[in-house]
């Protein structure tokens, strides 16, 4: 088990190296002048060809491929991702500043989806009947066919526009002032929902939550349908397995059969799917945050893309690749934790 995890962790940097290489190759499609845009904070510098050339030399932007890659890699290791004109600050700083907002959104989307999605899937598998089956199947396909940006606009239209229940952004102005500028308010985790509770500010907690609901639903509705369906079919499949009959033949009660014998086995494919789902969600962050003007990484990445801000978009892609590789590692490890056949290999 330990050696398995260690092996996986050792592969991780190799994959990441591959990702940087891939991104550098894409980056190389740009002219040195365009790549320079990543490193400067004022486009007017480009006016003067000499100062531009000096910067190109400084950042080794017109070097041949291998050495250019090495220099770029070195700057990445120093967390020097360049300058983000979109955020008007260094890319790394921009990332760190926006990461908590995105993480808060993603975690709040993942955890309920996983817990409730699996729970519902198990329930619907146990109370298996044809109407529910068809309903889930149809819902899943429709959910699958409904693009996030359309669903998000729908939510925006209904809950924000028509009903006026939910506000866009991340915090109301009054709450922002308290959270960011007031001395008494301490930021422990930078997750506003958690920090507000730690500070005993229920009003801020409620405000933050109201801002989160729309994005959470939008980010997770596909995953809900998907995970529920996968859990259900995996459960149904497992419940037909011989060992379930064995357990029943021992006089084990149905609850134990389902929640101990069946569920643990049924989770094995679900873990893989949940992993894929989380990865999909990372992509969905860009659209969701854009639709709801939620000030996280995705929103920033989308505006960077619109403004051809290469530095930001590449920093963002690298970060997400990193998150994805780490996510895959977690999935593989939890896979091993559940399945002794993998664990003891």
């Amino acid at each position: 088990m330990l050696s398995y995890i260690i092996r996986r962790i050792l592969i991780l940097p190799l994959i990441l190296l591959g990702v940087t290489f891939l991104i550098f190759c894409l980056f190389s499609l740009l002219s040195p002048m365009e790549r320079l845009a990543t490193y400067i904070n004022d486009p007017s510098v480009l006016k003067n060809p000499q100062s531009a050339q000096r910067l190109i030399d400084k950042y080794h932007l017109d070097e041949p491929f291998p050495s250019g890659y090495v220099h770029w890699l070195k700057s990445l290791l120093r967390f020097d991702f360049g300058w983000s004109p979109t955020a008007n600050q260094p890319v790394w700083e921009a990332i760190m500043q926006r990461l908590p907002a995105t993480m808060e959104l993603v975690l709040y989307s993942i955890i309920p989806v996983i817990l409730v999605g699996i729970w519902l899937g198990v329930i619907s598998a146990v109370h298996h009947n044809d109407i529910l089956d068809q309903f889930i199947r149809v819902t899943a396909i429709i959910g699958w066919s409904l693009p996030t940006f359309i669903f998000g606009l729908l939510i925006l239209f209904i809950f924000y526009g028509m009903l006026g229940w939910l506000p866009p952004g991340r915090l109301s102005t009054w709450a922002q002032y308290i959270v960011y500028a007031e001395e008494g308010f301490k930021n422990y985790t930078y997750f506003i929902t958690i920090d507000s509770l730690l500070n005993g500010r229920l009003d801020i907690f409620w405000d933050a939550l109201k801002h989160l609901i729309g994005p959470i639903i939008t980010l997770s509705y596909i995953s809900w349908a998907y995970l529920l369906r996968i859990t259900r079919s995996s459960m149904l499949e497992t419940l037909r397995k011989d060992y379930i009959r064995t357990a029943r033949s021992k006089g084990v009660d149905e609850k134990t059969v389902i929640h101990q014998h069946a569920r643990k086995n049924a989770m094995i494919p679900v873990v893989t799917v949940a992993g894929m789902m989380i990865i999909r969600m990372l992509g969905g962050v860009v659209i969701t945050e854009t639709v709801f003007t939620y000030p996280g990484l995705g929103f920033w990445a989308a505006s960077s893309a619109q403004q051809l801000d290469y530095g930001s978009i590449i920093g963002f892609a690298l970060l997400f690749a990193f998150l994805m590789v780490v996510g895959n590692l977690i999935v593989d490890v939890s896979y091993a934790l559940i399945d002794p056949r993998v664990r003891l290999e």
Binding site: Q89, G169, Q176, Y180, T293
Partner: protein, 541 residues
């Protein structure tokens, strides 16, 4: 207003025919950190601004009147006798020792002398009489903001010495110690700044005019109109920027006040460079007048320019794309400034027949016969400018089906890049006042050194040097408003006769706020005033 008196000829604080401006400094003004304002702080602030001179930044406005140059680099290079400022530095950006002395002289002989402390007065010595100088200083822009000298030095900014200044010239944001800290004398102090996201201000209780009524101010950058609208609707935002196209959506909103018809000091112009850079330029098609493209000097023919001037449906544009929230200008000078004229003779009107006549004469009839094909530009995402392009393209086709103008949207950065490279055949660009004086406009659009017109190509520069520049110079030096006005009118006449550009419109601004916001007033010269405010005067009910 940190001065006790505004200098003028009558109070004797402007001397030597407008070469010296003397400002007696107010006593007992506090900085946010508690320090008291001194004349030295003011001297330091301006001198630092001059040596700072960020490339593309606003400091030319100080350099031009005080030192008679556009950039400090220009001055340094001429003092040191080198062609380029960069030539004085080695690979690692270190000053080469042989130039050290010259660089010190730049400071001691020029910069230091331009702004001086005399007792409790600060004296500005101008390099030449410069009519708009007071307007420049009075503007709320960053170039005349006063900072605390000792505090700035503590933060790691320029230490005020002559032999170090070049290390503080044109820094990158990361290397600028004052990039993300503030310490001023204004009514509010900055408590939090997330670039492109939020600015939070808190009342400064020791403000010399007495504390402001608002305790705190939060600015938020929200690009999405829908979000801004919701914030306004819910009362989460007190003042929002509403695009002119969406103004109808807020007019009926409860508890929201819409103030319209605010004149702005800005205009939008489509330029037609007389000669273009043909090198590597795909925008010109074949690069010849053969129906498949245009020659680089296409627009140097006055009939072409006049043709396009008649082709544009100015009124439809204003009515539809601007919801009527704009007026027309005959030339570069916006309404509300000295020298503006609304002589109907000077306006081009949408007239396809006249356009046809002009085009038929252009290029000795060759253009009419063969047609043309080229790209016209707008910056991606700017729907109004795209509409303008589409209009030109459509109506050109009506006049002559052989005229094919393809609207192309490009990102702002590459738009600017191509504009600087003189590659754009027709492109639209706007200008907002830096200071309320026609001198901020005429040279920009017409002068051979103008921010825009300098890129109109060889042919234009030749014409402008001969016909425009002397007038601009004369207007700048004159202190007689009437005389100046007539010169600017003359310039407008020139712009019309030569059909230098399509003067599309001068936007009219509006202000949208919750009705509980009180104390708002309009001042066209405060940047972004339509959607912003002088927060000192504001209070909420």
């Amino acid at each position: 207003m940190l001065a006790l008196q505004v200098p003028s000829d009558s109070n004797g604080l402007i001397k030597y025919g407008g070469l010296d401006y003397i400002f007696p400094i107010r006593y007992g003004v506090h900085f946010h950190n508690g320090d008291i304002l001194t004349p030295e702080d003011i001297e330091y602030s301006f001198e630092r601004g001059i040596i700072f001179d960020r490339a593309g930044g606003p400091c030319w406005m100080l350099l031009e009147p005080l030192l008679g140059v556009g950039t400090i680099e220009e001055l340094a290079a001429s003092v040191a006798g080198v062609e380029n400022y960069a030539d004085m530095f080695n690979e690692e950006d270190k000053l080469l020792p042989e130039y050290q002395e010259a660089m010190i002289r730049v400071y001691t002989d020029y910069v230091d002398r331009a702004v001086e402390v005399q007792g409790n007065n600060v004296v500005f010595h101008l390099a030449q009489p410069y009519a708009p100088f007071l307007n420049i200083l009075a503007h709320a822009g960053s170039w005349s903001a006063i900072i605390n000298k000792s505090w700035s030095i503590e933060q790691g900014a320029w230490d005020g010495e002559a032999d170090t200044w070049w290390n503080y010239h044109d820094p990158t944001n990361e290397n600028d110690p004052l990039y993300n800290v503030t310490n001023g004398t204004g009514p509010f102090m900055m408590t939090r700044w997330v670039p492109e996201e939020t600015i939070m201000l808190e009342r400064f209780d020791d403000y010399w005019r007495g504390p402001a009524k608002l305790k705190e101010v939060v600015f938020q950058y929200v690009n999405e109109w829908t979000t801004r609208k919701l914030m306004l609707q819910k009362g989460d935002a007190d003042i929002v920027y509403v695009p002119v196209t969406n103004i109808n959506e807020v007019k009926e909103m409860e508890g929201v006040e819409v103030i319209q018809d605010l004149p702005t000091l800005s205009n939008v112009v489509s330029s037609m460079p007389w000669t273009l850079n043909a090198e590597g330029n795909a925008n010109l098609g074949s690069g010849k007048l053969d129906g498949e493209g245009i020659p680089p000097d296409f627009f140097s023919d006055i009939h072409v320019r006049k043709g396009f001037s008649y082709l544009f449906p100015y009124d439809i544009m204003i009515e539809k794309a601007q919801h009527g929230q704009a007026i027309r200008n005959p030339g570069p000078i916006p309404k509300g400034l000295l020298g503006y004229t609304d002589d109907p003779e000077l306006f081009y009107e949408f007239d396809l027949d006249k356009a046809k006549e002009e085009f038929q004469q252009a290029w000795d009839g060759e253009l009419w016969e063969k047609g043309c094909k080229f790209n016209i530009f707008y910056n991606e995402g700017n729907d109004v400018r795209k509409t303008a392009c589409d209009m030109l393209s459509t109506y050109a086709k009506i006049v002559n089906p052989k005229f094919e103008l393809t609207p192309v949207g490009v990102q702002w950065s590459s738009y600017l890049k191509q504009f600087l490279a003189e590659q754009l055949p027709i492109y639209t660009i706007g200008w907002m006042a830096d200071y309320p004086d026609p001198h901020n406009w005429a040279p920009t659009y017409l002068g051979s050194n103008g921010t825009y017109s300098a890129y109109y190509g060889e042919a234009y520069l030749e014409w402008a040097t001969e016909n425009v520049d002397p007038l601009i110079e004369e207007a700048m030096k004159s202190t007689d408003p009437e005389e100046r006005a007539s010169i600017y009118k003359e310039l407008t006449q020139l712009a019309h006769d030569q059909a230098v550009a399509l003067y599309l419109y001068q936007p009219i601004d509006h202000h949208v706020q919750r009705d509980w916001v009180k104390g708002w007033y309009y001042n066209a010269m405060i940047p972004g005033m339509g959607d912003g405010a002088d927060f000192y005067s504001l209070y909420k009910e």
